[in-house]
Amino acid sequence: MTSRDPRPDTPPPLWEVVPIGEYAVPSTLDSATVRKKWSALGRVFGMGSKRVQSPLRAETDLRALPRIKLEHLAPPIDWSHGAAALEDALRDRAADGAPASCVRVLVGQPFAGQAEILEQWALAHEAAVILPPNPEAILAGDTSPLDDWVGRMEAQPDCPWVLPRLEHWYFRHAGGLRLARRLFEAAFAGRLGRGLIGCDSWAWAYLQRIWPFPGVEVLTLQGFDGRRLGVYFLESARADRDKPVRFCHAKTGENLLPDPDSDSERDTPDRDDFPVSVELKRLAAHCRGNLGIARIYWRNRLRAEPDGDDDTTEDVDADKSAMHPDEETVWLSAGIEDPVLPAETGEEVVLVLHALLLHNGPPEGVLPELLPLSQDRILSILLRMKDLGLVQAHSDRWRIAPLGYATAREALRARGYLIDAF
């Protein structure tokens, strides 16, 4: 992994799939980063953070946007662009002489969309999507689902396949590795033909310890730096809206994206001179280039002016609105505080967080098999972390919440636990 130069000479495409070693974590070292580190240090020593700021628009003056409007301003990510970038990358590699039957792996951070990209790719190429077996079969070391699949592939050797969620094919349990090992044996020996495997970055970091992957081509979606985020947010916001939208920072009044009435920038957002605000660079660095998480931060920070707003008309941006009556101003709130793990957080909480990340949301019923904790204890920890905003439940699975990911990752890194390579 490398740190990205904030202004490359030639702008790369918005969606780009690259070898994992070329992933560039957006970096920024500015006053916000120093302030963030300082407040983290303060939390370690039990000091509260004292914020002194004089925002251009007070948070209390702004109101949350209705859900339907948020869906327009920050719609769900269309991962088909990622699938197209993946196809481009595969075509380039085929042109370079890579064997057509090989199995490649697409690795990405949680919420970075690698599974969705592979599903979109499978849809476009009529590839078989291989779903994970049930947890009980994995824990029992039952390899019959894999044997069935191998049998089918021998009958149809030319049919491409996609296995979008490798992290759901193993458990960190003495009986839970057998199926994954057998899968790797079959896949990388060429017995399964041509296929793509999607894997979460945390599971990949762990699986590399149980199985050597020399010579396996590992790809990833390139990180979204400030420029990419700006282009993406601009394009997604105007995709289905007639009225131009201006995005302004509530604290500084800074225009976060190019002027909606600037035709040159609107028409060519991929240009090298696309203006990138400091806020977007910070967001990209905070999210480590993860588009899925960046979008959620962005979406949760969008605010609107209150109806019948009279006493703030003297603002500079109100003047701007007066100058452009046919456009709408949306404010980005000063920031969202990440969930905070208390300094006295015990080892049990950290173990649970690690298990959730390594399995990208394991079923609740399996957690007692993975951890030296009782079901009741685990559930109480999960509920406490849910209150803190660190985890969320989805069906019977528990995952790290997108806004809690940075906190969880930092807590594990500080304590010396295995973390991902992103």
Partner: protein, 270 residues
């Protein structure tokens, strides 16, 4: 009589200002040492891994530095710091103390050596004379360790001169743990080795950057397996070994491997 007068002449007459200065230096040094011994461990215990151990190791070093500085400041206030005077005073004091408090002084000197050579530091897991535990305090005269049974044991630094000191992690977070398994000899040893390696790999306490080893030794009563691995933090060692043992027993039971059964030996005195 003449000798007494000579010795007394070595010392300066302490006027009130000198006494005040002396008092302030002693007070300042004491406060700094107290702050060093409470504040630094408090900060260190809010950190994790290597940073915690490094900071803890600084405590006795800083204390020694404070004492040396205080000593250097105090001596010129009390005596005329000429070579002749220093030799005379320190020689006399050393002779008197050496006879009366030989072991005490030896422990103090060993304490200084312990700070410099660092055979043990705060946060290390050491064994001295059969007592195993985590170093909780490196004092001037003794090292205090807390055993796994939460008993605080004070051991004079004097032991440094003639006892073996076993340091399990030596200032770092890497501390090897061993889980023992005693199995009936009739089993597939290869399958057991693989299963035990997986047991270690899947323990949530495992430090994955460190190697895992399974040592097999055939004994008259069965087969002895030693599963060696490293926890993430040395303080997890007992929970780690327990976890390895529990998981190991479960997977060995699934493999159908039986524990070694040694017939009880009748008591010869019965």
């Amino acid at each position: 009589m003449q000798n007494n007068t000579d010795i007394i002449r070595l010392f300066k007459v302490l006027d009130p200002a000198a006494l005040l200065e002396l008092g302030l230096i002693l007070l300042g040094a004491t406060l700094l040492i107290l702050a060093n011994q409470t504040l630094v461990p408090w900060i260190a215990n809010r950190l994790h891994g290597r940073y915690r151990l490094y900071l803890l190791a600084m405590v006795p070093l800083m204390r020694l530095a404070i004492i040396i500085v205080a000593f250097v400041l105090i001596v010129p206030l009390i005596i005329e710091p000429s070579l002749q005077n220093m030799v005379a005073v320190l020689g006399t004091v050393g002779l008197a103390v050496g006879f009366a408090l030989k072991d005490y002084v030896s422990s103090l000197i060993a304490g200084v050596v312990a700070v410099i050579e660092m055979p043990y530091r705060l946060g290390d897991w050491i064994e001295i004379n059969g007592t195993y535990g985590e170093v909780a305090k490196v004092g001037m005269r003794t090292v205090q360790i807390v055993t796994p049974d939460d008993t605080r044991v004070s051991i004079p630094h004097l032991k440094l001169w003639n006892e073996s000191i076993f340091n399990a992690n030596s200032g770092g977070p890497e501390l090897q743990c061993v889980a023992d398994f005693y199995l009936h000899p009739l089993h597939d040893a290869g399958a057991v080795v693989q299963a035990l390696q997986d047991v270690a790999l899947t323990s949530p306490y495992l430090q994955l950057d460190q190697p895992i080893a399974v040592v097999v030794c055939e004994q008259p009563w069965g087969t002895h397996y030693r599963l060696k691995a490293y926890p993430i933090d040395p303080r997890q060692q007992f929970r780690f070994v327990s976890d390895l043992t529990v998981r190991g027993k479960a997977i060995l039971a699934q493999l159908g491997v039986k524990p070694s059964a040694v017939a009880s030996v009748p008591n010869a005195n019965a």
